[in-house]
């Protein structure tokens, strides 16, 4: 394996010296370079390819958010990590959009090393570099036009408005759910690690932060017109995703439930990533129902985005494996098989034909697992109800 090329940026040479000293043991695995300003960081990135940039936020001249925004445009294949001390909430939101991962200073070296090692790897076996480049360019995902009004109302609501309505609005939006799970996995935004459900994310981050995130990501997309065909296709894919999320909530075990629901909602996040294109608006004429995005399977692109953004690995794995055949283990379905079962059953329900698929045997085997027969639920009926619920939400 080639050595990962990592660039550290901080205006205080003292801090860079500290990093250099404590990371000396990684010299075998990483090729490290150091820059004391955003400008010289961009020069270094222009001179030779890098895999990861780790930047401070508060720097004179070009700050971390500005630097990382430039990196996302000029070098989308470089993973962007923020390593920073206490910051004003407003600056934190700016960098929340520009960065991929967020670490607080001081951080123990073990977590800094862990994050960099993870980001040095790509998830796609066959399209690693291309998937990284397409997903890396994205700073926020667009919301479907039908969701915008509800989200705008959320931003305008009083800071002490009901959290429940915020949870409802956010938990049905693919882009915002992804962004909030990204932020919630970091101590940087005050959340504790391993927050899995949208409800606990909203509670942990608090309404003002959520409002600021929604506002900032909406601004990136508000001026972009949607092609009617793209909107129609993405709405259909969204409807399948929310229906699957509703269904899988009763299929997954208690501790796996929040992960399974998130994975179901984000199962086709790759389509949103492809629409986001180079971060400059839905590509005109993008065919979102095609299985590819600039020659790369959209699933690879979506999974790479979830990996870059640091979502919990059971969610990323379940999205990665949605289209693989699953043989349920006797020890339990886990997140991935539960999502697969809910997805296949929902597909049958949507097509209106209970025996049209090519996955009948696999689905029958999944539904016969003791985890799903223990409660004697009629899963086909549950799927119809979930589908009807998603239909009501989409027409609201």
């Amino acid at each position: 394996m080639t050595r990962a090329r990592v660039l550290f940026v901080d205006d205080e040479p003292r801090i860079l010296d500290g990093l250099r000293r404590s990371l000396r043991c990684r010299r075998g695995e990483w090729e490290m370079s150091f820059a004391t300003s955003g400008g010289s960081a961009l020069e270094l990135l222009g001179e030779s390819p890098h895999d990861v940039v780790v930047s401070d936020m508060r720097m004179p001249g070009m700050d971390g958010a500005e630097l990382l925004t430039h990196v996302s445009n000029r070098h989308p294949e470089v993973a962007r990590v923020v390593l920073s001390g206490h910051t004003e909430p407003q600056a934190a939101i700016k960098v929340a959009i520009a960065g991929h991962r967020f670490l607080t200073k001081p951080s123990d070296m073990e977590s800094v090393v862990g994050v960099i090692d993870q980001l040095a790897m790509t998830t796609s076996r066959t399209h690693g570099a291309e998937a990284r480049r397409i997903a890396g360019a994205v700073r926020s995902l667009p919301s479907l036009p039908a969701h915008v009004d509800r989200l705008t109302a959320l931003v305008r609501a009083a800071p002490d408005a009901e959290l429940a309505s915020a949870i409802r609005a956010v938990s049905r939006d693919v882009g915002l759910t992804t962004k909030l799970l990204q932020l919630s996995n970091s101590a940087f935004f005050g959340a504790r690690p391993r927050v899995a459900s949208v409800e606990s994310v909203v509670n942990a981050l608090g309404l003002p932060t959520i409002q600021a995130v929604v506002d900032t990501s909406q601004m990136l997309w508000s001026s972009v017109p949607w092609e009617p065909a793209v909107e129609r296709d993405l709405t259909a894919s969204w409807r399948h995703a929310v229906a699957t999320a509703v269904l899988v909530a009763s299929m997954a075990s208690p501790a796996n439930r929040p992960y399974a629901q998130a994975a179901a909602l984000l199962q086709d996040v790759g389509r949103f990533v492809c629409v986001a294109g180079a971060g400059s608006g839905p590509c005109p004429g993008a065919n979102v129902m095609s299985p590819h995005c600039q020659g790369v399977p959209y699933r690879d692109v979506g999974v790479e985005l979830l990996h870059l953004w640091g979502l919990p690995s059971p969610i990323v794995t379940a999205v990665a494996q949605r289209d693989l055949e699953h043989r349920p283990a006797s020890s339990g379905l886990g997140v991935a098989a539960a999502v697969r079962a809910a997805h296949l059953l929902m597909q049958q329900t949507e097509s209106g034909d209970p025996s049209d698929g090519t996955h009948d045997d696999e689905l029958a085997l999944l539904l016969a697992h003791p985890q799903l027969t223990a409660n004697s639920t009629d899963w086909r009926r549950a799927a119809e109800e979930a589908s009807a619920k998603a239909g009501r939400w989409s027409s609201q």
Binding site: Q118, R125, S197, S253, A255, D300, S313, G332, T373, A374
Partner: protein, 127 residues
């Protein structure tokens, strides 16, 4: 490194699980029966519970019930049971376990489940 609570009245199983989990760098606490487990869970919240079904006094289902009554994100529970009790799997799923292993099991089977629970696997997309 994660905190794992091992609940089993069989000292051999407790020792085996403690050894393999500590070897992986986890912090292991043990409870020798159901009541001890419930008391331990009042004081701390582990990242994962490995729970035997058949125990004198409060059995595994009773411990599971008290775990599922806790507020907040549910704690992952791996339940261990003797293969001779086929109905126990159905009951365990109905009561809300996350994973279920019949004895005898290999140490690698437990570790594999725990790695998944603790998110130690890097995801990949296969071609």
């Amino acid at each position: 490194m994660a905190q794992i609570l091992v609940v089993d009245d069989d000292p051999a199983i407790r020792q085996l699980l403690t050894d393999v989990l500590e070897m992986e760098g986890h912090e292991v606490r043990v409870a020798v029966d159901g009541l001890a487990a419930v008391r331990a869970l009042e004081a701390f919240r582990p990242d994962c519970v490995v729970l035997d079904v058949m125990m004198p006094g409060l059995d595994g289902y009773g411990v599971l019930r008290s775990i599922r009554e806790q507020d907040g994100d549910p704690v992952p529970v791996i339940m261990l049971t003797a293969a001779a009790e086929p109905d126990s799997a159905v009951r365990a799923w109905a009561d809300g376990v996350d994973y279920y292993l019949a004895k005898p099991f290999g140490a690698d089977e437990v570790l594999n489940l725990i790695d998944g629970v603790l998110e130690y696997r890097l995801p990949t997309v296969e071609a």
